[in-house]
Subunit: 598 residues, 2 copies
């Protein structure tokens, strides 16, 4: 297999408006250069702008990984779902906890990793009541000597990375409207880019760019409404005809429904500095019951390319028009350059909730391939000529009738848990689930700040009975190279290294290392709680390679444990309880950092 290169997505100093790094700081860490010079840090949740979660470090490799041992642990002092990636910059590790969103800066140069500082933002308690699926946080970003993160009650906060002192704190949303924030910001072109959560609460989705130095909101790009609100203007050149037309964010909805129509943005943002485009997907339309919102419901479940400085849309592609099944588009976009049909194509790889792995030209938005990476019967493929998703009419939900055996279930073939890409193997490592569901549409009434769903859901394991999968996907062939079946949904992020080892965690707490070329299990360690966090790797102050991950069950998939839900209530956690009823016997709540080394 030919080694493929990652997008040359290093940060562009000349375009940045902020101070990039303190004088005593590390070399720029936000990107991995095409040449593969890895500074051994982990400054962004996805390691680099390309979101590859790939590290050049190789001390821990297929030969040595079997000797991996616990090098350190740290209790976050918070239970509930720990979905964040730790960051490592300048020999300091930064952790953001679930609500109440405490930030710890651990000094990696000292034994036992004592905290250099701790920041406790004290978000409003009421925010917990409007979070759809546990009170998670997906992490922070480092840039220019600052740590940026969001609180559940809709503040974006910048801290001095060295001292923990507050640089700025901007309220960008309102919990009274059902808005919360769970995503990790990305900093590009001097803007801290953040989005809201709450697609199950009648929230109108947006992405905002805040000035990196002042915290002032520079731009807001709504997912619904008139073009002026969506920041669609003269530069907007979508590839497909179906995305063209004036104010589609209004006209593709029943009168006014776009105002409470979802399309939130709680997933991942990637950045291509050469094209100067950010990429992200919007979430599901609201409510889930599709009967009350005839039309395409633009721009929900849509992939956007925008200019980070202005928010201006350059192209868009709606994966799931008039989404029927909560198929958000928020999953990660991994920017890679791959040979395809005899050419090197600059693409993004997007494993969507709807079950298709979209390979998209990141300059134009053209879908080069869209093959299923999980079990899909709710749709019958993607027409590459028109970009249209072919719905299966027999799987459309109806009010007052239970439609059975819909695959994938509402969390999709994969949810937010991000995949990793190795340029050495040319494979994308996809942690995901294998769940199907029964659905029954219900009346939904909008009351601000309350659930607005209109669907009964009951999930169960997909074909084969295994609820989880860890796949290696070959974008050249559009097929799975190898696959590991897991009993529980694989709800952790993935990591892959130049040691040709891929890492992921299981919901019952196993942290696993597998051979990146074969999938062979090389090592595992049972952490104290279930893992839904994102593993990272870094070079420690001693020059050696470390691997770190947060353990702490929760999130949508682990809500039965973190939320102490009644296992008899099949519909609890939007149907998730029915398929995770055994989880409380398999893991316990926790909140613990594990660091491993040889």
């Amino acid at each position: 297999m030919a080694a493929l290169s990652i997008c040359a997505c290093q940060p562009q100093k000349d375009r940045s408006t902020g101070t990039r790094f303190p004088a005593n700081g590390p070399a720029p860490a936000a990107g991995t250069t095409a040449a593969g010079a890895d500074d051994g840090q982990w400054a962004l949740p996805a390691k680099n702008y390309a979101s590859t979660r790939y590290s050049e470090l190789a001390e821990i490799n297929t030969s040595t990984v079997g000797r991996l041992k616990v090098a350190g642990t740290f209790s976050t002092g918070v239970l509930r779902g720990h979905e964040a990636a730790p960051l490592v910059v300048n020999n300091t590790m930064y952790i953001v906890t679930p609500f109440p969103n405490i930030v710890y800066a651990l000094d990696l140069t000292k034994p036992g990793y004592p905290a250099k500082w701790t920041y406790k933002p004290q978000p409003q308690l009421a925010a917990q009541g409007v979070a759809c699926c546990d009170v998670v946080n997906r992490g922070a970003s480092y840039d220019g000597g600052k740590i940026f993160f969001n609180t559940l009650d809709d503040h974006t906060i910048a801290l001095d990375a060295e001292t923990g002192r507050l640089a700025w704190d901007t309220q960008v949303g309102q919990i009274n409207l059902g808005e919360t924030m769970t995503m990790a910001p990305l900093v590009a072109h001097g803007k801290v880019i953040v989005g809201n959560s709450g697609g199950e609460m009648g929230v109108r989705g947006w992405l905002k760019g805040l000035d990196e130095n002042s915290g002032k909101v520079s731009w807001t790009a709504y997912a619904t409404g008139p073009d002026s609100a969506v920041l669609i203007g003269a530069a907007f050149k979508p590839y497909y005809a179906k995305e063209r037309g004036k104010d589609l964010g209004v006209s593709s909805w029943p009168s006014g429904a776009w105002q409470i129509g979802g399309g939130t943005m709680w997933g991942w943002i990637s950045y291509d500095p050469q094209l100067d485009l950010i990429y992200y997907g919007t979430a599901n339309p609201g409510p889930w019951n599709p009967d009350v919102r005839p039309g395409d419901n633009k721009w929900t479940s849509t992939l956007f390319a925008r200019r980070p400085e202005t928010g201006e849309a350059v192209w868009a592609y709606q994966m799931s028009p008039h989404d029927l099944h909560d198929y958000d588009g928020v999953n990660e976009n991994v920017l890679v350059d791959v040979p395809f049909n005899g050419q090197t194509r600059h693409v993004l790889l997007h494993p969507d909730r709807n079950g298709y792995l979209y390979m998209v030209d990141r300059a134009t938005g053209q879908v080069l391939s869209a093959n299923p990476y999980g079990v899909v019967n709710s749709t019958q493929g993607v027409d590459l000529a028109t970009g249209a998703l072919q719905y299966n009419p027999t799987k459309a939900p109806e009010v007052g009738q239970v439609v059975r055996d819909i695959c994938p279930a509402a969390p999709g073939a994969k949810d937010w848990q991000p995949s990793a890409y190795s340029p050495r193997t040319g494979l994308l490592y996809i942690p995901h689930q294998n769940l199907c569901m029964d659905e029954e549409g219900l009346e939904a009434n909008y009351i601000a700040g309350t659930p607005y769903v209109g669907m009964n859901v009951k999930m169960y394991p997909g074909p084969g009975g295994n609820r989880g999968v860890f796949d290696a996907w070959n974008p050249q062939t559009g097929k799975v190279a190898w696959s590991i079946k897991e009993d529980l949904p694989v709800w952790s992020g993935a990591l892959v290294t130049a040691g040709d080892v891929a890492f992921y965690g299981t919901m019952d707490g196993w942290f696993k290392a597998v051979d990146a070329r074969s999938g062979k299990l090389l090592w595992q360690f049972k952490t104290g709680s279930g893992i839904i966090g994102q593993p990272i790797t870094y070079r420690g102050p001693d020059g050696h390679q470390y691997v770190a991950v947060l353990s702490g069950i929760g999130g949508w998939s682990g809500a039965i444990v973190a939320g102490l839900l009644d296992p008899r209530d099949s519909g609890a956690a939007l149907g998730m309880v029915n398929v995770t009823r055994d989880l409380p016997d398999k893991t316990t709540m926790g909140g613990m950092l594990y660091v491993f080394a040889l």
Copy 2:
């Protein structure tokens, strides 16, 4: 130094009324035989009836301990102070958490130690409001195929050790009266022996013996009141004249004050099967303000020897008559046979809160020696002829006047955290604190179920500035053999092994192994939270030695972290906050089991 033997305190099958072990179970585990045949289990919080916390296992020794690694972890799913010792019986590890007092049975034969069963007693939430000093639990006991433990809301519960099924559940106290339960039961002579907590709430202390099979209360021995209630009868033969007289539990109090006079029992019980006597100490009198309770306040702060079958008192010795400073007598009694003045004496070693290490003949109650093991200025020694504690009148608290520089402070030179004794070294390993205080008496009004203290307390570090000490004490010389100064109070239990290694933990999370003969630090590992638990060791299913400890800050000493107390409030946690103000910067809440092996 001559090797000394531990009391031959193995369980006596012929005296037991219960089935000792299931047919497929292990050899009797409750005691270590004098011959030293160690079954490698840990069935009681203190390992054996003698409460030595000594194991014959020696694979982990002074030469090998430096190679100790994390073998496993388990999140209890509960934050707050974890003071319990895990138990290991029949390749199963049993853990009791702080409130809500979940019991886990972990299968040590399987990778990752999955739970065989989990028992959730669901105690009343209101119990948390009447617990004086965090919602801790000090562990369970195993006997005859059952696990026995107490809930914070005053239930003693027996579970089938194999299945977790409830055998019986007896309510023995009332939270409405301020009673809680935090201690670990001891089973002796077919009785499950338990006591109450709540000396700061006007609670009347008691010890109860429950039938091991039915859970029915066989006897109740109050600490105060008439002899009939204290179970003082014809067999009562105290060594000292000061303990003789009719109904001293009434006459040593102002009229009726004994009814709300404290003397609870939340510490440790030891058992000598040869003498058929249990040993335990009662807690402080209430309220703390001594002016309102003139008299000796019997039988608070008193060491008792009783028959386990009937509760009948055989002797008593009041360490701190008319206690002035919250000097509970609940600390452990370690039963050893030591050469003393040319004879082998059958003694108990009792490091009391008041700062004296009492060596007491366990048949008669005679105090053979009582030397200070910490800094003491509140008293001026113990008169061995009369047994009297010599108070220092200049350190007596007064209402409306601050008396300064009282040593030890209210938690004593040592609190509940139990010491360990090695027959190989002849040394007692004492984890303790070095705190002094200012006191000011206040009016105290009794309202059932509310605090009844009457004292302002402000603690600070004792001479030298180190707040913690780990001492090796030589009972033959009555002196410290070696001493380790720790910055924070040493609030964990101690463990010592035939590998001549002693283990303890620190409140900032370090788990340490030191040379039992010299105190030299041999190994340490930083756990995720502060350690106030009790380390144990056992032989695993693979034949190898393991060491385990719970990490999770809290308790009185860690209340500032576990209770999120305001560091500006010097008097919070009964004055403890003033001397632990830096703790939130040094550790975080947690609840995690760590298992270590070579």
